[in-house]
């Protein structure tokens, strides 16, 4: 790890510079109100991700709405010639736990129930804290954001579980497994929260600190 020399504590935006989000080139736009494209990689240049808060809010609210049916409706339905029963996410966790594979039950519980919920709560907290211009706890908030980015994709776990059980267990008329309506809602929650984490601009966390010139480091 190398210690870096800050060029005083000043941000690129304060110098009228934009750091390209893709290739990290530092560029000076000819027209700051319409920065255009990166001269090197062609990516769009923006001082801060455009309408970051509105977009992230829209995605988070949509994901929160889908989160309810994702948990209430059945993930998959098992049909045998004698009976048929449907399992929700929690039902699947309980089933795994009861059948003795509690480490897997724990993984599914964390990945499918706690991670999506935690992600929604974390994003709402980040959005509110930025909107209210909260100056402190920047390091904690930055760490929270990184965690949301890192673990988000793991909630896709249950979608893959259902996909491959459905694909495999097709022994009609003996036994067949069908996907339940919750799978769609669940996959949509994961995709929406992943995009929400990408539209949220972490630089906004530090902007409110810089405005009040009391960084907590």
């Amino acid at each position: 790890m190398s210690a870096l020399k800050p060029v005083r504590a000043i941000t690129a935006a304060q110098c009228g510079l934009i750091s390209c989000e893709t290739c990290k080139l530092l560029a000076r736009p000819a027209h700051p109100e319409d920065p255009g494209h990166c001269p090197r990689c062609g990516g769009e240049l923006e001082f801060r991700r455009r309408r970051s808060l509105q977009r992230t809010w829209a995605l988070v609210i949509a994901a929160a709405v889908c989160y309810i049916p994702a948990n209430m409706l059945p993930m998959m339905a098992t049909t045998t010639f004698a009976s048929s029963h449907a399992d929700t996410i929690m039902g699947g966790v309980v089933y795994l736990f009861a059948s003795g594979s509690w480490p897997l039950a724990l993984i599914v519980l964390v990945a499918s129930v706690m991670v999506p919920l935690g992600k929604l709560i974390a994003l709402i907290y980040l959005l509110l804290s930025v909107q209210r211009g909260m100056p402190g706890a920047c390091h904690q908030r930055a760490r929270l954001y990184r965690m949301v980015e890192l673990i988000g994709r793991w909630s896709m776990l249950d979608v893959f579980v259902v996909t491959f059980i459905v694909a495999l267990v097709q022994l009609q008329p003996l036994m067949a497994v069908q996907p339940g309506p919750a799978v769609l809602f669940f996959a949509v929650v994961v995709v929406l929260t992943m995009i929400a984490a990408e539209t949220f601009d972490p630089r906004l966390i530090w902007d409110s600190a810089a405005n009040l010139e009391n960084e907590d480091d």
């Binding site: 020399k5 990689c41 996959a187």
Partner: protein, 231 residues
């Protein structure tokens, strides 16, 4: 080590960069091999220097391309019960969902399991081959940009774990056996992140020329005009 921000002597020859997570301007000192520079304010990783940023990722990407073909063409899981046998592939899994009427979910699974990793491997291979003979054409930058966008959607790590859970659930109903694709997928789950770690995008960007200054809507900041602006 070439310096994209001009060759003024001393500290100012160190490239100027803004942190992607907090926008703080800072200079990146010359890094030792396997060294990493972190943001002075938020700790975000700004730059890393892998030991061989072009050859090793190229070797890994070629391997990944071969393993990828194996993973999507061979059988993933097989199931035997009461004298009947069934098996599925990765694409077969998505196809079965599609047939059950879950078209959107099937498309998402298909994207995360085949399209995103496939594009990632092809685009990465293109970029690494282009980098072998500088200068990289302007569209090389575009290719790398798309490649980096595909990376978080390549979910073989999540999928491997998902299939493990599926295996254990199904094993209680019937006897299941793992196909070659399952092992291939496990290998890809390790290979794809390894490509990203061994690769240094800065090495490629250095080779990509900037657009003509007269027509561009923005221009790269040279050290000299940064100093001239009075900071």
């Amino acid at each position: 080590m070439t310096d994209p921000l001009g060759a003024a002597p001393g500290a100012s020859s160190q490239p100027l960069m803004a942190c992607q997570e907090c926008d703080l301007l800072q200079r990146i000192p010359p890094l030792p091999i396997r060294g990493e520079a972190h943001c002075a304010r938020c700790g975000h990783s700004l730059a890393a220097r892998p030991s061989d940023p072009l050859q090793i990722p190229l070797a890994l990407t070629i391997t990944a391309a071969i393993v990828f073909v194996v993973a999507i063409t061979t059988s993933l899981l097989g199931l035997s019960a009461v004298g009947r046998h069934a098996s599925t592939t990765i694409i077969g899994g998505a196809w079965q969902l599609w047939q059950e009427g879950e078209t959107i979910t099937a498309a998402i699974v298909m994207f995360c399991a085949v399209i995103a990793p496939g594009f990632f491997i092809v685009l990465m291979l293109t970029v690494l081959l282009l980098a072998k003979r500088a200068p990289v054409p302007h569209w090389g930058g575009e290719v790398l940009r798309w490649c980096l966008h595909m990376q978080p959607w390549s979910m073989y790590d999540v999928m491997s774990l998902g299939i493990l859970v599926a295996l254990i659930k199904v094993a209680q109903l019937a006897s299941v056996d793992a196909g070659i694709a399952l092992y291939a997928m496990g290998v890809l789950a390790v290979l794809l992140p390894a490509i990203m770690v061994s690769f240094d995008a800065r090495e490629i960007w250095k080779l990509v020329p900037c657009e003509n200054k007269a027509t561009a809507s923005a221009r790269a900041v040279e050290e000299a005009d940064f100093l001239a602006s009075g900071r």
